[in-house]
């Protein structure tokens, strides 16, 4: 589904990614771990098409198509979803209106009619109850004044509404309390299928107990330095990153 080869990227002249390799197939869950500042969020921004990040070498293919030429919205229309580490506040636009606009924009891009109001409402009800989101919450301005945990839960609500092919969850677990973590992980698992794939960026093994990865990768200094199975995450939790640094 997503193939990344030897990806290099820079921002404002500063080189941040120095050789990322990743091969994600439909039906798989990949975890990405690595110390602070190693380039995990940068990688997710580059995949989603942030204009500030310039790819200087290597390539990214999504379902066989070169991502480089696609705008962020086109990537979204093709099924890429990024759950932000720091979701942005948009005052004046309610959660409901935002998600409606988002869904209909994707439908329009595919030449489809707007989703009917009834169907939209039904879907919003279904997905918000899956994530145990209060309906009053949906009429609030998007992310404005939301707690850290509420923001993350709201990101996964949007993911559930949009049903993407590839979801990148950037530290979705940070800020969530233990119960919320279970609810969100359960929501994510319900969305898993043989047709879609998930990349989970996290610092903690705990999330991976709920969303069990098929592969775990370690990024260090903008490079994928080690890949393995879920046992690698357990090993990292025990030993930290020093032994990896020594290997590099």
């Amino acid at each position: 589904m997503l193939t990344i080869e030897n990806l290099h990227a820079q921002v404002e002249g500063k080189q941040i990614l120095n050789g990322i390799d990743l091969d994600v197939k439909a039906g798989e869950v990949h975890a990405i771990m690595g110390p602070n500042g190693s380039g995990k969020s940068t990688l997710s921004s580059v995949i989603a098409g942030h204009q500030d990040y310039e790819v200087t070498k290597g390539n990214m293919l999504f379902q066989g198509e070169d991502l480089a030429k696609l705008s962020p919205e086109e990537r979204a229309h093709k099924g890429i979803f990024l759950s932000f580490q720091y979701p942005v506040e948009i005052p004046g636009v309610s959660v409901t209106n935002f998600i409606k606009t988002s869904i209909n924009a994707s439908r329009k891009a595919k030449g489809m009619e707007d989703m009917t109001a009834n169907l939209m409402l039904k879907k919003i009800r279904e997905k918000s109850s899956l994530l145990e989101i209060d309906s009053r919450f949906l009429s609030r301005s998007l992310n404005e004044g939301f707690s850290g945990g509420e923001k993350k839960r709201n990101e996964i609500f949007q993911m559930a509404m949009l049903e993407p092919k590839l979801s990148i969850l950037d530290e979705t677990d940070s800020g969530l309390d233990i119960d919320a973590l279970k609810i969100v992980a359960n929501g994510v698992n319900k969305l898993r299928s043989n047709d879609n794939a998930i990349i989970v960026i996290t610092h903690y093994q705990r999330l991976l107990e709920y969303i069990v990865p098929d592969f775990v990768h370690v990024i260090f200094d903008g490079k994928t330095v080690k890949s393995g199975t879920k046992d690698l995450a357990i090993e990292l939790e025990e030993k930290g990153y020093d032994w990896i640094k020594e290997m590099v």
């Binding site: 989603a48 098409g49 942030h50 204009q51 500030d52 705008s71 962020p72 919205e73 990537r75 979204a76 229309h77 979803f81 990024l82 932000f84 979701p87 942005v88 506040e89 948009i90 005052p91 004046g92 636009v93 209106n97 935002f98 409606k100 606009t101 988002s102 869904i103 209909n104 924009a105 994707s106 329009k108 891009a109 707007d114 301005s141 949007q158 949009l162």
Partner: protein
């Protein structure tokens, strides 16, 4: 001949046409003198630093067309709130149009200024209110007064709630190549009375028109006045709006100004709070492109204690457009426990647009809550990326953000149909179809 000279010379001819015994003959003459002395404001005047009338007053204008031009209702229907029932006072090229109007004397007065000025039964009201709260030093107001004759006259008696909004609409047809209009409105809202008013100036085809308008609004004790100015004229039309509002105890006056079009617009909006516990709201949405220029010049004079004023102006500018905001809050020494808030936020959509924003606070009381803030910024890039990554195309994302930005100004619009119209206008100006029902 310079246009100023023409204005001075034409006055005799103007007064010949009207009844010299009317209530304001003397006031007109005095005002003409003031205008003669002061002339048009120039950029040397601090208040006109960012807005120049030079090019405007170098031209020649027709001053007072006398014959009524007829226009078909279906051609102008869209400029009315046709979905609901309203009172209407309509002028075409400065001349009253009985055909398009819908006035009343039934329990309240919604009629013509010229009638109020000439009929004896209005005499005492005119003597009490006409030209009483204007700034005597203001040359453009003086010019308007010198030629004051036509406009809307509204009187809402004690405890009457006007059950229909009043629309005051000025059309210009382009029959005159260049036209100078000077409407004069007087609105008196007596104790505990309520009214909603919409004012609009609209050219029906591209031609030079300048409107120098003066409106006086008196809100008596416990009165409620909800006033909307819709400025969405063609790019050949300019407007100088001088509005003076006087508030008595516990009155509530709200003025929303939607500046979405026109060539040059200057809004001089003056509030004077003369009684305790007044509420004043001044809100504006300005959305400009091309070479459009809008200058909001507000003054809130807290002359009494325990009043509250809120100013909230939002601007979005693109291309060569120019915005100016000068917001003055004056708190008198006596006006303890004043709450005065002012906010002016602007977004520049590209680097050709400019904004000048300046708060002016003059506070002479010590127990006062006063705040002001102005921002000029580009579109929030992080928010833009966030929305695009959710599939919303760049243009729509910008529109959605602009819409959201202006949204809290629209929230207080109490005419749902108007709110919807303005929302649609904003969406249309931004060239997008928002994916949800406004």
């Amino acid at each position: 001949m310079e246009f100023k000279e023409k204005l001075l010379d034409s006055h005799l001819a103007f007064e010949e046409r009207i009844d010299l015994s009317d209530a304001i003959h003397q006031t007109r003459l005095e005002s003409l003198k003031t205008f003669e002395q002061k002339g048009f404001p120039s950029r040397k005047d601090e208040a006109w630093k960012y807005t120049s009338l030079n090019a405007m007053v170098l031209k020649d204008y027709a001053l007072f067309p006398q014959t009524e031009t007829t226009i078909q209702l279906k051609k102008v229907k869209k400029y009315f709130l046709y979905e609901i029932d309203t009172y209407k006072v309509v002028f075409i090229d400065g001349v009253y149009s009985p055909f398009l109007s819908d006035t009343t004397h039934d329990g309240l007065d919604v009629c013509l200024m010229s009638a109020a000025l000439s009929k004896a039964k209005y005499r005492s009201l005119i003597d009490t209110y006409f030209n009483k709260i204007i700034n005597k030093e203001d040359s453009l107001t003086a010019l308007n007064t010198a030629y004051a004759q036509e406009g809307a006259y509204v009187y809402i008696p004690k405890s009457v709630v006007a059950e229909k909004p009043i629309e005051i609409i000025h059309f210009s047809t382009g029959k005159e190549k260049a036209l100078w209009l000077q409407p004069r409105n007087l609105i008196v809202v007596d104790q505990n009375a309520q009214v909603q008013i919409l004012e609009r100036h609209q050219s029906l085809k591209e031609h030079v028109v300048v409107t120098n308008s003066v409106t006086e609004i008196y809100a008596h004790q416990d009165a409620f006045v909800d006033y909307y100015k819709i400025q969405n004229d063609l790019s050949t039309a300019s407007l100088i709006d001088n509005t003076y509002i006087s508030q008595e105890k516990k009155s509530n006056v709200r003025v929303h100004t939607f500046s979405l079009g026109g060539k040059l617009t200057r809004n001089n909006l003056n509030f004077c709070l003369n009684g305790q516990h007044c509420h004043s709201t001044l809100k504006g949405v300005t959305l400009l492109e091309d070479q459009q220029h809008v200058d909001h010049y507000t003054l809130v004079d807290h002359a009494s204690p325990k009043c509250e004023s809120h100013q909230d102006y939002k601007g979005v500018f693109s291309e060569g457009s120019k915005g100016v905001f000068n917001g003055k809050i004056h708190v008198d020494q006596l006006a303890q426990k004043t709450n005065a808030f002012q906010q002016n936020n602007n977004i520049l959509l590209d680097d050709k647009a400019t904004v000048n924003t300046k708060p002016q606070l003059e506070i002479f009381a010590d127990d006062v809550k006063c705040s002001h803030g102005c921002t000029v910024g580009q579109m929030d890039e992080d928010a833009l990326f966030y929305m695009r990554s959710r599939g919303i195309p760049k243009k729509e994302a910008k529109a959605l953000m602009t819409y959201a930005f202006a949204n809290n100004v629209l929230e207080s619009v109490e005419l749902p149909i108007l709110k919807k119209r303005i929302n649609k206008l904003i969406a249309k100006k931004l060239g997008v179809n928002l994916g949800f029902d406004l």
